[in-house]
């Protein structure tokens, strides 16, 4: 079946602009996660959605970052007033009621 998809695959933006990154999880998966990976580093947790519960936003690095998940499916990660240090690969993952997470291909964000 279809895996997790993300769009766009690459995004180049200018400092100060807002960007939106999209994640389509695997159908039926109740949990959705956003992570960020800087060059040559491991993944950094950003935010987690589980069903209709309030999201766990404990990993968001600043109030310029926000995310929503509409209808328990598609999620959008928004970064306002982008900075150069926001440049990274943003990875989305979804999981069924188990501990295995299925990752999308990521969005490579470059802030000039």
């Amino acid at each position: 079946g279809a895996g997790v998809s993300q769009s766009p695959s690459n995004k180049v933006t200018e400092k100060g602009k807002d960007v939106e990154l999209r994640c389509d999880p695997i159908s039926g998966h109740t949990a959705l996660y956003w992570y960020r990976q800087s060059l040559g580093q491991g993944l950094e947790f950003l935010i987690y959605f589980q069903g209709n519960s309030a999201p766990d936003k404990s990993g968001l690095p600043s109030d310029r970052f926000s995310a929503e998940r509409t209808g328990g499916s598609v999620s959008t990660l928004t970064i306002q007033r982008t900075q150069q240090e926001d440049s990274a690969v943003y990875l989305c993952a979804s999981s069924p009621p188990s501990d295995t997470q299925y990752f999308g291909p990521g969005t490579r964000l470059t802030v000039l």
Binding site: V4, A31, Y33, Y35, Q37, L39, Q41, G42, L43, E44, F45, Y48, Q50, D56, S58, G59, V89, L91, A93, D99, T100, Q101, Y102, F103, G104, P105, G106
Partner: protein
């Protein structure tokens, strides 16, 4: 912050040899997982070992877990050039948080 630390950071071996990667972590965990990443994009789940397990096998993969030392190892036997990738350990910590905490990864290069 990254909980898991992988050792070595980079490993280069000949095809057919075994590759061993180690991971250490700091807090109490529910389970530990290993992921593989090609070319800095999406991660692929390899294997999960629960905190009450000591060893697990999947094909050419063997994972061990020592909770007293807070460490794990991933062994890839009879390596192939196609195994070239970055390998990350990730822990699901005990408690209510559901996000994974990733290590910084080991870059494995298998030479043909």
């Amino acid at each position: 912050s990254q909980q898991g630390e992988e050792d070595p950071q980079a490993l280069s071996i000949q095809e057919g040899e075994n590759a061993t990667m180690n991971c250490s972590y700091k807090t109490s965990i529910n389970n530990l997982q290993w992921y593989r990443q090609n070319s800095g994009r999406g991660l692929v789940h390899l294997i999960l070992i629960r905190s009450n397990e000591r060893e697990k096998h999947s094909g050419r993969l063997r994972v061990t877990l020592d909770t007293s030392k807070k460490s794990s190892s991933l062994l890839i036997t009879a390596s192939r050039a196609a195994d070239t990738a970055s390998y990350f350990c990730a822990t699901l910590n005990s408690g209510s948080a559901r996000q994974l905490t990733f290590g910084s990864g080991t870059q494995l290069t298998v030479l043909p």
